[in-house]
Structures are given as structure tokens and as C-alpha cells.
């Protein structure tokens, strides 16, 4: 999904939110503030000090853990070809730096949608 599509999607979600009664709207914004992620933090965690911490930031613990295990194994067996693993992890993870705005945008839209779903389904008042 490109940036324009994401913006359109957000616009649609915002319209839905605007239709919520005040009490639900308040609950929505509370939740949004808590769950929405910042693309710059994501980008920094992607490459700063340790490559691939951005997965944890978006709550992808499995993916993050695999990454960390690969890096630790790569380091532990550095001289036995572990460096190849490190470079692979780096090559695999770094491109996300350049798409961080879009990835986080998409994630945030999903968060917004899921909070709306929650409000609609549970009928939170």
C-alpha cells in the first residue's frame, strides 16, 4: 500500500471516529494515544546499536526474538562464518528503515481500526 492509499484509509477511519458519541470518542483517543507508534522511534530501533529491535516496538515478539537469537549466534560463532549471519540479518532488516514511515503508518491505521472494532463489538459506553 502506498502513502496515498494509507492516507485515504486514515481519513476514512477518522470520519468513523468523528461519528462516535463523545464518551466513546474519549475512550478511543485514550486508547489511540497508548497504542499508536512513532515512525522515528521505529527507524532508530531498526538500526541503532542493535539491528532489528523495531519488531519488539510493534509488538512482534516472535520476529524480534528470532532476530536477536540470530545476532547472538552470529556473534558467538563470528569466526566460524557467524559474520555471514550478521550481514544477512543486517541486509534483511535495514531496508525497513527506508519504509519506516509507511510501515508505521499502516500499523497505526490497523491500531485505529482495531480500537474502533473493539468499541463497536463490545459496545463500550
Amino acid at each position: 500500500m502506498d502513502m496515498q492509499a494509507l492516507q485515504a484509509e486514515e481519513e476514512q477511519l477518522r470520519q468513523e471516529i468523528a461519528k462516535l458519541p463523545d464518551e466513546q470518542k474519549q475512550y478511543y483517543y485514550q486508547q489511540e494515544k497508548l497504542k499508536v507508534k512513532d515512525p522515528d522511534t521505529y527507524a532508530v530501533l531498526n538500526w541503532f546499536v542493535v539491528v532489528g529491535l523495531h519488531h519488539f516496538y510493534l509488538g512482534k515478539f516472535g520476529r524480534g526474538a528470532i532476530n536477536i537469537v540470530l545476532i547472538l549466534l552470529g556473534l558467538a560463532f563470528l569466526e566460524l562464518g557467524g559474520w555471514i549471519v550478521l550481514i544477512l540479518v543486517f541486509l534483511l532488516e535495514l531496508p525497513q528503515l527506508f519504509f519506516s514511515q509507511r510501515i508505521v503508518y499502516r500499523y497505526n491505521n490497523q491500531v485505529m481500526a482495531s480500537i474502533l472494532d473493539e468499541i463497536h463489538n463490545k459496545g463500550i459506553s
Partner: protein, 265 residues
């Protein structure tokens, strides 16, 4: 487990990020010190031009007098005798084929303590006090071979490069500490002040032991020298030379005894 459940999603995410960072940084530091540093120091030291090695020995020899090293009191015959002994020990090739070491033995007198040390390009200095401490030629051979071992394995330049890499890394990480770096580098550039790592000392001991075994069938002389130096160092707590930079002498003797065992089979 209940503690983990009580954490909010955000707390869990940041805990994972922090724990991972600590784990990776710890292992990375360990690997840097014990794998990357020795490997890259060896590679860089090998690739330095021969002229640097020559210059290091020249400046090292010049600086001997700064360390209160005086002319030797040995007679010309004695000097000829030990030089001959030394020349017979000089290896044909260095561990690193691209380096051509020029071995030479210098004699100096140094009141402070019996000492022997190696410079980068194969200049080895032995003090009169060291020679008079030793009982026989075999023991002198043991000391000389230990120093030749340092030259053979290129320890002087490797440790200089290592110190430089560490100071550069530290100044990148902690900001400018050029003053500290200068002191460290200039300290290591003269063989006299050089503190080799335990690994380097063990390697030099093993080299000497192996060569002694080849010459005499055993490395007894090396063990005797270490024991002798231990007595001297026990008498003089300020003793800071051939040994202080070396691993505990008892440990080295034990190590060598194990070696004898290995060689005798």
C-alpha cells in the same frame, strides 16, 4: 509469571528491547576483545611496512639510555660467546612470511634488575645482571628463546596495534581521550615498557620450550629460569621486569611441565 502479566504491552516491548540490547552488546564486546581485536591486530601488524619495524628498533635502541641502561661490563670474549649462542638460535623465517626480522643481540648494564626484552624488528637486549643471574648457557638460551619467541610471533607490533585500536575505539565511544591514547601508544612503542598479554607470554614460553626440546631433548632450562626469577622476585617486591608483565611464574612452570609431558610422548 504474574509480574509479566501485569506489565502493559508497552512495558513488555521496551523490556524486550532493553534486554536484547544488553545481551547483544555484552556478547559483542566480549567477541570484540577476544576475537576481533587479536585477529585484526595480527593482520594489521603484518601488513605494516618493514620500514616501520626498522624505525621502531632504532628509536627503541636510542631510548635505552633514557631508561638508565648503561654500557655493558661484559668482556669482548663474553659478548662474542653470547652473540654466537644467539645467532645459532635465530629462526630462518618469521611466523609471518611477509616480515623479515633482523635479529641482533645487544648487551647493556641495568642496576635496577635482571632483564631481557625484545623490540619490534628482532633487536633483543639482555642485561649483564640477567646473564650473571643465570647458571649456564642453556639457561641463557632459554631467556633468549623466549624473547625470540616474542619477535617470531610479532608480539611487539601486535600489542601496539591492539592498544591503538582500543584507544581509537574508546575515543569514538567516549569522546576525545587523545591524551590517554598518546600515553598508551608511546608506552607500548618501546619494548622496555611493553606489557604483553598473558597469551603472548604463554606463546613465547611455548616457543622457547619447543626450541629447547629440539636442542636438548628437554625444556628443563626454561623451568629453571622461571624458578630462579621467582626467587629474585620474591626477594624484591618492587621487581617489575621480565616477570611482572608475565603470568604468575608458578602457573608458567606448571604449564611448561605439562608441556614436557606432552613432548615426552
Amino acid at each position: 509469571m504474574s509480574l509479566l502479566q501485569n506489565l502493559t504491552d508497552q512495558q513488555k516491548q521496551w523490556s524486550a528491547i532493553i534486554i536484547s540490547t544488553v545481551l547483544v552488546l555484552t556478547l559483542a564486546t566480549y567477541k570484540f576483545i577476544y576475537t576481533v581485536l587479536p585477529y585484526s591486530s595480527e593482520a594489521i601488524a603484518q601488513s605494516l611496512p618493514q620500514s616501520i619495524y626498522e624505525a621502531l628498533d632504532e628509536s627503541g635502541i636510542e631510548s635505552l639510555s633514557d631508561h638508565q641502561m648503561l654500557d655493558t661490563q661484559l668482556t669482548a670474549e663474553q659478548q662474542a660467546h653470547y652473540s654466537q649462542l644467539f645467532q645459532a638460535l635465530v629462526p630462518e623465517q618469521s611466523e609471518h612470511a611477509e616480515l623479515t626480522k633482523t635479529y641482533q643481540l645487544l648487551f647493556r648494564s641495568w642496576e635496577e634488575k635482571p632483564n631481557a626484552f625484545a623490540l619490534a624488528n628482532g633487536t633483543i637486549v639482555i642485561t649483564d645482571e640477567m646473564i650473571s643471574l643465570l647458571n649456564d648457557d642453556k639457561q641463557v638460551q632459554a631467556v633468549l628463546l623466549h624473547e625470540i619467541g616474542h619477535v617470531h610471533h610479532n608480539h611487539v607490533v601486535e600489542s601496539m596495534v591492539k592498544v591503538s585500536i582500543v584507544s581509537v575505539t574508546l575515543s569514538i565511544l567516549l569522546g576525545d581521550i587523545s591524551a590517554v591514547a598518546d600515553i598508551l601508544v608511546s608506552g607500548a612503542s618501546i619494548g622496555i615498557g611493553a606489557k604483553f598479554s598473558r597469551d603472548a607470554e604463554t606463546q613465547a614460553d611455548e616457543y622457547a620450550a619447543a626450541r629447547l626440546v629440539a636442542l636438548h631433548g628437554d625444556n628443563q632450562a626454561m623451568v629453571e629460569v622461571l624458578q630462579k626469577l621467582k626467587t629474585v622476585s620474591d626477594e624484591n617486591a618492587n621487581y617489575t621486569s621480565w616477570l611482572s608483565s608475565h603470568p604468575a611464574l608458578d602457573e608458567r612452570v606448571t604449564h611448561l611441565n605439562n608441556h614436557v609431558h606432552e613432548f615426552s610422548h
